[in-house]
């Protein structure tokens, strides 16, 4: 390839990459703006919006609620998805594939439709705006992710190790505890992280079923942006990006470690 066209090619790739990452990166400088509204370039730099954030009771509460909800959802997701994944990979039964598709179907449904559907039915039972209501609503979308990761983890295990344990005298429960469970730790960590992030970030379903009583961070952010134009949200966004990065790094270490074990 001639030099010019290669240079042009590299430039194109770099610009597309910049486009992809621009919104995530630009919230950082804006979050340090000293201005009372979002403007580029900021007239001066400060940490005033981080300070404002700490004193914004709604945001702090919403953040705490979101953390609690995400933690609960993650725990329940693992408790529910783990046995299901074992059943769907270790048993051979009629309708297994259909059932697997059914359990991943909520991912294909637009979340706006799912949110509305859950709202309509939960409203009748007073679940809207309640903790259990929101947790169940989130479970519907975290379960398919976790199930997929766990099924992949279970079906890419080194061949025959479970059989081998059986021939050595381990009953099914001990095979699970001594062989299956340790070997799928990476998949468990990954699905837990995914469930946590999906639940913490979920906005559409929360918008429908969290109501006005139960404050959740993405919903509060959304409403804040609707009525305010100051860089407070940039500060929250910057923190969220860093938090997500942290989780990704933890998972990377866990899975990298796992890969080393199973190689």
């Amino acid at each position: 390839m001639p030099k010019i066209s290669r240079g042009f090619h590299a430039l194109c790739i770099a610009s597309i990459m910049t486009f992809l990452l621009a919104p995530v990166i630009l919230v950082f400088p804006i979050s340090f703006s000293a201005d009372a509204y979002v403007a580029w370039p900021p007239s001066a730099w400060s940490t005033r919006w981080y300070v404002a954030l700490l004193h914004n009771e709604e945001m702090v509460t919403a953040f705490r609620n979101s953390l609690i909800i995400a933690a609960c959802v993650t725990a329940i997701t693992l408790i529910v998805a783990m046995p299901a994944a074992v059943a769907l990979t270790r048993w051979n039964f009629l309708g297994r594939d259909a059932l697997t598709s059914l359990f991943t179907a909520p991912l294909l449904l637009p979340s706006i439709v799912l949110g509305l559907a859950i709202l309509v039915i939960f409203a009748g039972y007073g679940l809207v705006g309640s903790w259990p209501g929101v947790i169940i609503g989130h479970l519907v979308i975290t379960l398919p992710y976790a199930l997929r990761v766990l099924i992949t983890g279970l079906s890419t295990m080194p061949a025959f190790v479970e059989d081998a344990a059986g021939t050595l005298g381990a009953d099914p429960w001990r095979v699970f505890r001594r062989i299956t469970l340790p070997l799928m730790t990476p998949a468990l960590v990954a699905s837990a992280a995914l469930a946590f992030i999906v639940s913490f970030d979920e906005v559409v379903i929360s918008l429908f079923i969290a109501g006005t009583q139960l404050k959740l961070l993405p919903v509060s952010l959304y409403h804040y942006v609707e009525s305010w134009t100051d860089p407070l949200v940039a500060a929250v966004s910057a923190l969220l990006v860093l938090g997500t990065l942290g989780i990704v790094l933890i998972v990377e270490r866990a899975i990298g470690f796992g890969k080393a074990v199973s190689k």
């Binding site: 359990f103 706006i112 509305l116 559907a117």
Partner: protein, 287 residues
Amino acid sequence: MTVSTVDADARSGGGRLLLTLLLPIIFVNVIAFIAPVANLVAMSFREATATGSMKEGMDLATWSSLVGDAYYWSMLWRTIWIGALITLVTLVLSYPLALFVSRAEKAKALLIVLCISPLLISAVVRTYGWMVILGDQGFLPALLRSFNVTPPRLINSQLGVVIGMTEILMPYMILSLLSGFGKLDTTLEQAAETLGAGPLTVFRRIVLPLSMPGVLLGCLLCFVLAVSSFITPKMLGGGRVALLATEIYDQAIVTLNWPVAACLSVLILIVFGTALLFYGQLSKIVE
């Protein structure tokens, strides 16, 4: 490698255990997925009174009022063509990037993580990032003004929605494309070159056809997500870009007309189904 599964009848005694393992997930799916969706479809055949309560009985009244209303027709078309436009732009931008990433020798894993990781960040945060960039006092207008160009209306417009949605959906497209490029063996291209094909011909005759399954999958995914997305059009459209999804929200939360919201939801599902049918047909042709 696959794990050997002990064959079915070796575990025939475990029928009850199997049911126990599956019961929790079935329970969650029934109460928060199957029942609500079935109920929603049924809801579309009810009719709301002026006070927001529901009339008795089921009929097609809500449906017929929707079908007779040109407002909804134009909204449907706008949703579909904006969805298609977003899909096209996303494809055009993602294809070279995905090709580059799949060919990268150094730092391939890092590049993939960079392309995919935006998925892990809340759509609200990413859309807010676009408000920072596209807003009247934002980064891009400032940049344009420094070159003495008068910026077009970027926010609270369809243009803004398309830009934001494109970026939001790119990771999905890149993922699909990468899975498609997986089948692409560079020796095939070398073989074509030894047979006398120039770079353009190699791309047109070898690379493009072999990556078609990934392209189709990515397009399906992006179209479906674009048609049903709500947060980004709402935040970047500023209420001026009325789409099916935003209308569902308004009807459900603001107007409190659940039957209309239910009808529009079913309509979105019909658009989904149609897209899926198209995808199936096109995949057959490509195969």
